[in-house]
């Protein structure tokens, strides 16, 4: 659906995060999860938030999704402050239970289209089937989610998010719970979907290889509290797995995350989990 310039996509320069602090009440008082983070996402960009666990990347994404309030600063979508969740920022979660179990595969997508876009039933179902086919699940359009594998459920969630054609797609480690092989295939498919639709994406991950494969730009966050540590522009040539540029940028992020350019190297080292070898 490359011609899909619906009302949701007409305004450009979607998202800005401006000096944002995020805090929550933990066991030991107020914890700062994200400290003074600023960035902007341009139209058609795929921005990856990369970092070890505890760096606040998922918290930040949830704040962008409107599920958490910002303590300081502002998150703006098309110039308007984000105050709550909405279908202009469709989110894909890591957990498999994000689908409505009582609706079929196509039904889940159609329901989102009717609720989020107000489409009439026929049109919603037509588009839903189209998107289900696009993620390779045409045969399973009328199956209920509990009969699907984890990877297939994530495909449905991705189809649902794309179908709504939000201003920006938010992906919270959508492939983290998949086995290595499916994860790799899903990355490739997501990439081609994004490129075909020209989607604007924020993708959260702790896998360096995933970040390089998916992103056009990578922001590395350091933990406790989450701060921006480094920024990488990923050139087109580096997107191919096994290419010299891919290995180079991956090694560089490795070196930087481990070598102590961020403020608290020990904490980084202790918390950083190697992504499984693919």
């Amino acid at each position: 659906m490359d011609g899909g310039r619906g009302p949701f996509r007409e305004v450009s320069a979607p998202l800005s995060v401006d000096k944002v602090f995020l805090r929550y009440a933990g066991d030991a008082g107020i914890v700062t999860a994200v400290e003074d983070v600023s960035f902007a996402v341009e139209e058609g960009e795929r921005l990856v938030l990369l970092g070890p666990s505890g760096c606040g990347k998922s918290t930040l994404l949830r704040a962008i999704g409107g599920f958490l309030p910002v303590a300081e600063g502002a998150i703006r979508l098309n110039g308007r402050p984000v105050t709550g969740p909405g279908p202009d920022r469709m989110m894909v979660f890591q957990e498999f239970d994000q689908l409505l179990p009582w609706r079929t595969v196509a039904g889940n997508v159609a329901f989102a289209l009717r609720k989020a876009r107000g489409l009439p039933k026929d049109e919603a179902w037509r588009r839903a089937r189209e998107w289900v086919g696009r993620v390779g699940l045409a045969r399973f359009a009328d199956a209920y989610p509990h009969t699907l594998s984890g990877g297939m459920k994530q495909r449905v969630a991705i189809a649902r998010a794309f179908a709504v054609q939000p201003a920006i797609l938010l992906m919270d480690e959508p492939f983290a719970a998949l086995d290595a092989l499916s994860r790799r295939r899903m990355q490739d498919e997501l990439l081609s979907l994004c490129e075909a639709a020209g989607s604007t994406v924020i993708f959260v991950t702790h896998g360096i290889d995933e970040a390089v494969r998916i992103g056009t730009r990578i922001l590395v966050l350091s933990p406790h509290p989450g701060r921006l540590a480094a920024e990488y522009l990923v050139p087109e040539a580096a997107r191919e797995r096994g290419s010299a540029a891919f290995a180079e940028i991956e090694a560089d992020i490795h070196a930087r995350v481990f070598s102590g350019t961020p403020p608290e190297p020990q904490a980084v080292l202790a918390d950083f989990r190697e992504p499984s070898l693919v």
Partner: protein, 274 residues
């Protein structure tokens, strides 16, 4: 090879059907054996006042069905039950909604359920008689009490157990207010709601029959419990057993036909059955 692999699920399904039918036949044989034992013992005892034979019980069942007395009693009982069940559901829905909306509501529900859930509904009958007198309102009052607490407890637990990811996904799609409740929360909590309805039904049915034994709505037109009680007083023991049989049959029918069908059409099909 691959053909066999494709056939596997189908064979498994027909196997399940086969299993179901053998279990059905097994149960039928057990039931027949029990009926036979009953008949033999009652004949050996030879005292129709203490224990009528199975045949006599069936005859009594047939006769009181034909002369219209038993169906009328069943209708009385069921209409009272449905009224109480309906009111119970409405109050449970209100309380659960309050609990979902505010902390005060949540504490109110928690406190009320922990106080009233352990109290057998039938224990409230004297109070009900005092307040409402002898008549349908007293019976409905105890039925509401029997349905309300287990149902409210189950619904509340069901709403609380809706996964946070599913809630976020719903709000992400723009669900809010009524569309959030009816489009997401209620279907997501349906397994708990259904089991609460089932439990409430079972409590209500037991409570009603027990309460009806205390008095009939009026001397001529009591419910099923009153039918059993008056027939005992008149030493029509075969009718007593016929009444008991009807109580069991209605309980079984609602459990196995109504609730099992509801479950099969919804949570079982959606893989939500825990």
């Amino acid at each position: 090879m691959s053909d066999h692999a494709l056939d596997a699920p189908r064979r498994a399904a027909s196997g399940a059907r086969f299993h179901l039918s053998t279990s059905f036949w097994r149960r039928a044989v057990i039931l027949a054996a029990l009926a036979l034992a009953w008949e033999a013992y009652a004949r050996w005892l030879g005292n129709g006042l203490l224990l009528p034979t199975f045949g006599e019980t069936l005859a009594a069942l047939w006769n009181s069905s034909i002369n219209g007395e038993l169906p009328a009693r069943v209708a009385t009982s069921l209409s009272l039950l449905l009224a109480g069940y309906g009111i119970g559901i409405a109050v449970a829905a209100t309380l659960t909604a309050l609990a979902a909306l505010s902390r005060w509501g949540e504490d109110l529900l928690g406190l009320l359920t922990s106080m009233f859930n352990p109290l057998p509904a039938i224990a409230l009958l004297p109070v009900a008689l005092l307040w409402f007198g002898i008549g349908p309102p007293s019976l409905i009052f105890v039925i509401v009490h029997a349905v309300l607490w287990p149902l409210a407890l189950a619904c509340h637990a069901g709403f609380r157990a809706v996964p946070p990811t599913l809630r976020m996904a719903g709000r992400n799609m723009g669900l809010a207010g009524p569309s959030y409740v009816f489009g997401l929360l209620i279907p997501a909590a349906l397994p708990a709601i259904l089991s609460g309805l089932r439990l409430g039904w079972a409590f209500a049915w037991r409570t009603l029959i027990a309460a009806e034994m205390v008095f009939g709505v009026s001397a001529r037109s009591g419910g099923l419990g009153w039918f059993i009680y008056t027939n005992r007083a008149q030493l029509e023991t075969a009718n007593v057993f016929a009444g008991l049989l009807v109580v069991v049959l209605i309980g079984l029918a609602v459990e196995n036909v109504v609730f099992r069908t509801l479950g099969r059409l919804t949570i079982q099909r959606w893989g939500q059955e825990s």
